[in-house]
C-alpha cells in the first residue's frame, strides 16, 4: 500500500513535469497577449531534437538546450507571422502544430529503434532519507526540480519585477503600453520565444527522461492539455503547478487502478486526462465574470500599431 502510494506520487511528479514546462511558457506568452496554439508542435520538435542530440552521444544538458533552441526557432516563425504580419493567431498556431508534428516525424524517422539512457536521478542529501516522502519527493531527476524553480521564477518575474509588469500591461492594453513608449511587438516576440523554448524543454523531458525513446506524435496531446492548464490556472504560475499535479496524478491513475485489480477498458483509462481536461475547463470557466477578469484582455488579438 505504502509502496503503491509512493509510486503514485512519484509518477505524478514526473508526469506533471513536461506539462509544467510547456504551460509556463505559454502562460507568459499569453500574459503578453499572444495565443500560440502551436505548443503541441513545438513540444514534438523539442522531443525529437533532444532525442536526436542525445542519441548522437551528447550529454542531456546539450540535448535539452538544443531542444529549446529548435522549439524557439519554430516559435520565431510563428512570431514573424502572428506578430510582424499580424495574421490570425489561431490559424497560425494550428499551422505550427501541423508543421511541428510533420517535421518531427520526418526528422525522427530513423530513430525508431534507438534507445538512450534516461537522465540520472539527483538524490538530494538528507531530505531523500526522510521516511515515505523522502525517496519520492527528493530522489527525482534534476528536470523535475528545475520545473518548479522556473515556475517560482515566472511568478517572481510577472508579479515582482518591472519587466513583468510591462509584459502584463502589454497583454491587457497594448495600445496604451505603446503610447507610454513600450515596444509592444518586441516584448511579444520575447515572450513568444520564451514560450517556444519552454515547450521545447517540456518535449525534451518526454524523450530524455519520461520515456527515453522517440515515438512519432509521442506528446499525445500534452501540448493541448498545457494550453488548457493555462486557462485552469487563471494565468497564474502557482495554480498552474497545482493543475499540472492534478493532471499528472490522473495520468498515473492507471497504475493505481490496476494495483487494486479493478477491471476497466484500458481505453477509458487512457481517455481520462482528456475527459478531465474538459471537466476542469467547465468548472473553471463557469463563472463568466471571473473568467473575463483573469483572461488577458488583448489575448489572441492581432496588434497593428497604426490603429
Amino acid at each position: 500500500m505504502q509502496h503503491l502510494l509512493a509510486s503514485l506520487l512519484s509518477g505524478m511528479l514526473v508526469a506533471a513535469t513536461p506539462l509544467i514546462y510547456a504551460a509556463l511558457g505559454e502562460l507568459v506568452a499569453e500574459r503578453s497577449g499572444v495565443l500560440n496554439l502551436g505548443v503541441e508542435g513545438m513540444m514534438l520538435l523539442g522531443a525529437v531534437t533532444a532525442f536526436g542530440v542525445a542519441f548522437s552521444g551528447y550529454p542531456p544538458l546539450v540535448a535539452a538546450l538544443a531542444a529549446m533552441g529548435a522549439a524557439a526557432a519554430a516559435a520565431a516563425v510563428f512570431a514573424v507571422l502572428a506578430l510582424s504580419l499580424a495574421t490570425n493567431q489561431y490559424a497560425t498556431g494550428l499551422a505550427l502544430t501541423i508543421l511541428g508534428s510533420g517535421l518531427s516525424g520526418l526528422i525522427g524517422r530513423h530513430f525508431g529503434s534507438g534507445s538512450i539512457s534516461s537522465i540520472a536521478k539527483l538524490r538530494l542529501p538528507v531530505l531523500s532519507d526522510l521516511p515515505v516522502v523522502g525517496p519520492v519527493l527528493f530522489n527525482q531527476d534534476p528536470m523535475v526540480y528545475l520545473a518548479l524553480v522556473i515556475a517560482a521564477g515566472a511568478w517572481w518575474f510577472l508579479y515582482r519585477t518591472k519587466p513583468g509588469l510591462v509584459v502584463r500591461a502589454v497583454g491587457e492594453a497594448p495600445h496604451s503600453a505603446l503610447a507610454i513608449g513600450y515596444p509592444v511587438i518586441r516584448i511579444r516576440y520575447l515572450t513568444t520565444l520564451f514560450g517556444g523554448a519552454m515547450a521545447g524543454l517540456g518535449g525534451a523531458y518526454l524523450s530524455l527522461a519520461y520515456t527515453p525513446l522517440w515515438v512519432e506524435d509521442m506528446t499525445a496531446g500534452r501540448g493541448w492539455i498545457a494550453l488548457a492548464l493555462v486557462v485552469f490556472a487563471s494565468w497564474r504560475p502557482g495554480r498552474l503547478i497545482l493543475g499540472a499535479w492534478l493532471f499528472g496524478g490522473i495520468s498515473v491513475l492507471q497504475l493505481f487502478v490496476q494495483g487494486f485489480g479493478i477491471q476497466l477498458p484500458s481505453e477509458l483509462l487512457t481517455a481520462l486526462p482528456y475527459l478531465t481536461t474538459i471537466m476542469v475547463l467547465v468548472a473553471i470557466s463557469r463563472n463568466p465574470t471571473t473568467l473575463r477578469l483573469n483572461t488577458p484582455l488583448s489575448l489572441a488579438q492581432p496588434f497593428r500599431p497604426e490603429r
Binding site: A86, L103, L106, G221, A271, Y274, I278
Partner: protein, 355 residues
C-alpha cells in the same frame, strides 16, 4: 536591426488575391526542398514524385477525387464556424463518431437482404452522430463559456479511443482472427463504384450537392450574414441582436454533421469496414482547406483539390522512397504558413525599414 512594417494599401490588391496562393505554393516547394535534402532524400526526385506522379494515371485521378471529396465536405462545414469565429478543431473526432454510427447500422442491418433504405439511414446516422459529438463543445461553450477549441480537440482523442475500444471489443469481427477491425460491410451498406477497377464512388454526389448549399447559406442567406458579422465585429453583432448562442450551436452542428457525413463516406466507401485508424488526418487538413479557400465555398473546392493532391503525393513518396506520411503534414503546415502570410499582402504592402 531591420524592421518589417506593414503599410496599408489604398485598395485591396487584385493581383495578390490570385497571386498569393500561387506564391505560397511556390515558396512551400522552395522551403521543403532543403528540408528534404537535410532529411537525406533527393529533393528534386521527391518533389517530382510528390506533385506529378499522382495525376499521371486514371487511377490517380480517381484517388484524387476520392480524397478531395471528404476534405471539401468537412472544410465547408468548418468554414461556417470559422466565419463566426467559432473554432471547431474537433472535426477529426466528429468524423470518427460519424463513421462509428454509420458502421453500427451497416453491421446491424447489412445482411444479405438488400435494404434500399440502409445507405440513406447510414448517411443520416453519420451526420447526426457527428453533430451530436459537436453538440458537446457547443453545449459547454454556450452554458459554461469553455473554449470550443480545447474541448473539441480533447474530444478528438476520446473519439479515437472509443473507436479503438469498439473495434477491439463490442464491434470486433467474430470471424476476424482477433484482428482489431469490424466485419466487412455488405454491398447494400456501401456506395456503388460506377467505374470498374477504380475506387471512386457515388458519395461524390454528396459533396457536389453540399458545395452549392454552402454557397447559398454563406453568401446569400441572412444566417450567413449573421455569421460573418458576429465573426468580424462581435460588438456590432451584439447590438444588432444576433444571438451568439444560436450562432455557436448552428456553426458547430453544421460542421459536426458534415464531418460525420465525411466519416460515413469513408467507412461506406474505400474502407468498407471500421479499423482502429480511419482518418489520415482529414479533420486537421480540412482546417487548411478552409483557409486556402479563404472561407468561401468555391475556394474550398480548390483548396480541397490541392490538399488531396498533397496527400496523394505523400503516399506516392511513401511507397517509392519509403518516407513516412509525416512529409505530407510538413508540406501542409508550411503551405498554411505561407498562405496566411501571403493573404496579408492583399491589404498591406511590406516595407523593410532600418530605424
Amino acid at each position: 536591426m531591420l524592421r518589417i512594417e506593414l503599410e496599408p494599401r489604398a485598395t485591396a490588391s487584385h493581383f495578390m488575391r490570385w497571386g498569393a496562393p500561387l506564391l505560397a505554393l511556390l515558396l512551400t516547394v522552395l522551403v521543403i526542398a532543403p528540408i528534404l535534402a537535410l532529411a537525406g532524400l533527393p529533393p528534386l526526385e521527391t518533389l517530382r514524385i510528390f506533385f506529378l506522379s499522382p495525376l499521371s494515371s486514371l487511377n490517380g485521378l480517381s484517388e484524387w477525387l476520392l480524397k478531395a471529396s471528404p476534405l471539401i465536405l468537412i472544410a465547408l462545414g468548418l468554414t461556417v464556424g470559422f466565419r463566426a469565429n467559432v473554432w471547431n478543431i474537433g472535426a477529426e473526432g466528429m468524423y470518427t463518431i460519424g463513421a462509428i454510427c454509420a458502421g453500427w447500422l451497416a453491421l446491424r442491418y447489412g445482411d444479405a437482404g438488400a435494404h434500399f433504405w440502409l445507405l440513406p439511414a447510414m448517411m443520416l446516422a453519420g451526420a447526426l452522430g457527428g453533430a451530436a459529438w459537436a453538440a458537446i463543445p457547443a453545449f459547454l461553450k454556450t452554458t459554461a463559456n469553455t473554449s470550443e477549441i480545447l474541448v473539441s480537440l480533447m474530444l478528438n482523442y476520446v473519439a479515437a479511443l472509443l473507436l479503438s475500444y469498439l473495434v477491439n471489443g463490442p464491434m470486433q469481427d467474430p470471424q476476424g482472427l482477433n484482428y482489431p477491425q469490424t466485419a466487412l460491410f455488405e454491398p447494400s451498406a456501401m456506395f456503388s463504384t460506377p467505374f470498374a477497377g477504380l475506387r471512386i464512388n457515388a458519395s461524390m454526389f454528396i459533396t457536389l450537392v453540399a458545395v452549392p448549399l454552402a454557397w447559398l447559406l454563406l453568401e446569400r442567406s441572412f444566417l450567413g450574414f449573421q455569421l460573418s458579422v458576429s465573426g468580424a465585429a462581435p460588438a456590432a453583432a451584439r447590438y444588432a441582436g444576433f444571438s451568439q448562442t444560436r450562432l455557436t450551436w448552428i456553426s458547430l452542428s453544421i460542421s459536426g454533421a458534415t464531418a460525420g457525413l465525411a466519416g460515413m463516406m469513408e467507412a461506406a466507401g474505400p474502407l468498407g469496414q471500421l479499423t482502429p485508424v480511419i482518418s489520415p488526418g482529414y479533420g486537421f487538413a480540412a482546417i487548411i482547406v478552409a483557409f486556402i479557400g479563404r472561407l468561401r465555398p468555391v475556394g474550398v473546392v480548390f483548396g480541397g483539390l490541392l490538399l488531396s493532391l498533397l496527400y496523394l503525393g505523400g503516399e506516392a513518396v511513401q511507397m517509392s522512397l519509403n518516407v513516412p506520411a509525416s512529409l505530407s503534414r510538413c508540406v501542409q503546415g508550411t503551405l498554411l504558413f505561407f498562405l496566411l502570410a501571403g493573404d496579408v499582402l492583399i491589404l498591406y504592402r511590406l516595407r523593410l525599414r532600418s530605424p
